[in-house]
Structure formats: C-alpha cells, structure tokens
C-alpha cells in the first residue's frame, strides 16, 4: 500500500516530465523522417502552457469534470503499476480513464466529437482483449499479478511470454493512437473530421488531455519494459534501451502507414489477441 502511494506520487511528478520529453522527441524524430528540421524538443511543453493561458470555454460543465477524472485515473493507474501493485487493477483503472475520456466527448453532443468517441470506443474494444490476455500471461509467467514479482525472477518474462509481448506490441500502436490506428484522434494535420474526439475540448481542457497522454505513454512503455526486468540491476539498463527502441519503432510505423478502416483494426487486433495471447497462455499452461 505504502509502495503504491509512493509510486503514485513519484509517477504524478516524474511521468509528465518524461512524457513531455518523449512527445517532443517523437515530433523531432518524425520531422527528421520527413526531411524537416522540426520543432524544439520542448514544443509539447510550450503547447500545453499556451493552452493553459487561453480563455476558458466549454459547451457544458460536465466535460471538464470527466476529463479531470480521466487524468486522475491515468495517474492512479501509473501509480499502481510503478508502485509494483496489481497489474490487473492497473489495466482496469487505465480503461476507466479511457472511458471517462469517451464520456467527456459524448457529453458535448457535438456530432464531430461523437464520431471521435465512437471510434475511440472501437479502439478500446480492439485493444482490450489483448491487454487482458497480457495480464493473464503475466500471471502465468510469474505466478502473481503483482508487478513487483518481476524483480524476484531469474529470467525476464520475455523468455516465456514473448508471444504475448508481440501481441502487446501490435495493440500498442492503437493505445498510443499512432497511424495506422489513429482513428479517434490524429495528431497529423487534416486527417480528421474536424478534430475527432477532442473537437469540443479547448484551452485548459485540451491541456489536461495532452498531459493525460503524457502519463499514458509513460505507462504503456512501462508495460513494454515489464517484460524485460528480472532480479538484476543490468535489466534496468536493458529495459530502458528496449523502451527507446520500441518507441522509435512506433514513430517509424506512424510515419509509414496510412490510416486503416476500423473493421481491419478491430478484426486484426482480435486475431492477434487470440493467436498471440491465447497460444502463449495455452503454452504456459502446459509448461
């Protein structure tokens, strides 16, 4: 309990810093991939500060509350994870955060925001089976749902759960809202019906959404890193390298693929979940 409390506080303070730099890194690398100079690395920070300076306006009082809830649950989910708490609980709390974000968009009753919310719901439907199977594979590999169980292992769980890792890698693109799976909200210009799920969110509310994405990105990279940690200090360095490589891979995918239709996203994500997650769990059950 104490460790989760410390984890939550540390995550709440440190994750935005890391997430902000990660986001800036993303934009600079994307720009270089397109043969541009790109913005300064602190650009996401400037964006958020500017959004906080803007006039406050909202179509209703509920939207801001829902977005705040989404942000708080994202912090809590990260705290549970990095505090070494229950992975399953972390998964549920981050899903709750996504749902709050969807409800916020629906509450505005704007047709454009609603299209974004529909699509975000589809994204949640697409990635959720794989996320749950990942948690089960984690349990079968370590014998516990607690994240800190990886610290007592002789070998990282990637050795036994590499199929589940590949499945997670597939849905990570959906979770990070990267092209080709950026259906609900694209950060690329003019790919969107107005602005998807964030259409009605503006100024300080949009700043909260941006900060929430920073938290989410750090948490999801944490999930990736969890597969490579074992009871040795070297594993931390290895994990950091893997996380950077995975993020670079995501940027590469983002810059090289056009958006797919939702049918393909949903079907492929479920097939991957069934094959990668299902087979991995079946194999672990017989081991």
């Amino acid at each position: 309990m104490i460790s989760i409390l410390i984890g939550t506080i540390a995550f709440a303070i440190l994750a935005p810093v890391v997430g902000c730099l990660l986001s800036g890194f993303d934009r600079v690398v994307s720009a270089r991939m397109q043969g541009r100079v790109g913005p300064p690395i602190l650009q996401p920070y400037y964006d958020v500060r500017k959004l906080l300076e803007k006039e406050h306006a909202s179509v209703n009082a509920a939207e801001g509350v829902y977005v705040t809830c989404a942000l708080v649950f994202a912090v809590l989910a990260g705290g549970i994870f990095f505090g070494g708490g229950n992975l399953l609980m972390c998964v549920f709390v981050i899903t709750l955060s996504s749902l709050m974000f969807i409800v916020a968009a629906y509450s505005t009753r704007s047709p454009y925001a609603e299209i974004g919310a529909h699509r975000e719901t589809l994204q949640v439907m697409a990635y959720e089976p794989m996320v749950l199977l990942m948690a089960i594979a984690f349990f079968m590999a370590t014998g516990s749902f607690d994240v800190n169980a990886v610290l007592g292992l002789d070998a990282p769980i990637i050795t036994t759960a590499w199929l589940a890792f590949l499945g997670l890698l597939y849905i990570l693109t959906i979770k990070l809202r990267k092209s080709p799976f950026d259906l609900s909200m694209s950060h690329h210009a003019h790919q969107e019906i107005v602005r998807g799920i964030t259409t009605e969110m503006s100024g300080p509310t949009l700043a909260k959404v941006e900060i929430m994405h920073w938290y989410e990105n750090v948490l999801f990279l944490g999930w990736i890193g969890m597969f490579f940690v074992w009871g040795s200090p070297i594993s931390i360095a290895l994990t950091l390298v893997v996380m950077v490589l995975v993020y670079l891979l995501e940027i590469l995918i983002d810059n090289n693929f056009a958006r797919v239709k939702w049918q393909l996203m949903l079907k492929s994500a479920w097939v991957v979940a069934l094959l990668a997650g299902g087979v991995n769990i079946a194999v672990l059950a017989f081991l």
């Binding site: 720009a31 541009r36 650009q43 400037y46 300076e53 006039e55 964030t198 009605e200 503006s202």
Partner: protein, 149 residues
C-alpha cells in the same frame, strides 16, 4: 513571458478566390518550408486555433462563415489576411457579389499581400501575428487579474 508565441496553431479558410493562396498556405506547412519549426500546427478546428489564416475576398455567401469561425476561436486570437484578395478584395473588388477584404467581416491583425501570396510572406505574417498574439495574451492575463481582485 507568454507562451502564446511559442505554439501558434493555425486554421485556414478559403473565402472566395482562385484557390491559389490556399494552396500556398498548405505549401507553407509542408516539409519544404516547415512551419513546425516555429511550433505552427495546422488544425482543422477553430476551437484549437490561435491564428486564423483567411484567403480570398469576402462575399455575401461566406461572410457568415468567416464570422462564425472567428467567433468559435478562443482569445487570444489573431487574424491574418493572406493574399491581396483577402487584404482588399484584389481583382475581384468590383464584382457585384464581393463585399471586399476580410476586414469587412472581422478585425484583421496582419495583412500579407501577394498574388498568390508566397510561403515566405505567410511565414513572415505568422511571425508578425505571433507578436500580436503575445500582446493579446498579456492583455488577457492583466484582465483576468483585474477580474480576480
């Protein structure tokens, strides 16, 4: 220091012109000119935008659209008239259906003439607009402070 100047997000609207200036606006945001160096992002949403780039002259059909987009943008906001049509009505100014430049509909902060307006001129206009944005942001902050007292 105001952060408004560090991340000017733009929205563009083509009122009624030959579309040449609108193409130049998009060219400005393409890799060759790389507007993102200055934090410029092209948004399709007036609620997210700080700078309103209007090309083409205003007529009776679209004056309401221009006003609506302007009204949906949140303070601080800046309007840049891109191209001579948006500045004064250009060669269309004597047409029976044309009202004139964008300033006939909404307050314009920066005028960027040209036919078609060059991407360099648009970047210059945006950088000019960013200074106005900063002033407006400071004024808004001062106003908020006064409101709080």
């Amino acid at each position: 220091m105001a952060f408004a100047s560090k991340s000017p997000w733009v929205i563009h609207y083509d009122a009624s012109s030959c579309n040449g200036c609108d193409i130049e606006v998009l060219a400005t945001l393409c890799p060759g000119f790389d507007g993102e160096r200055f934090g410029v992002i092209n948004t399709g949403n007036p609620k997210h935008a700080d700078i309103f780039l209007v090309t083409g002259s205003v007529n009776h059909q679209n004056i309401d659209v221009v006003k609506e987009i302007y009204d949906q943008m949140l303070e601080p906001k800046v309007v840049v008239a891109c191209g001579i049509c948006a500045c004064t009505g250009g060669i269309f100014r004597d047409c029976y259906n044309v009202i004139g430049g964008v300033d006939k509909a909404i307050p314009v902060d920066v005028y960027a003439p040209g036919c078609a307006v060059r991407p360099e001129a648009i970047i210059d206009a945006i950088v000019e607009g960013v200074a106005v944005l900063d002033q407006k942001s400071k004024a808004l902050k001062a106003q908020k402070k006064r409101g709080g007292e």
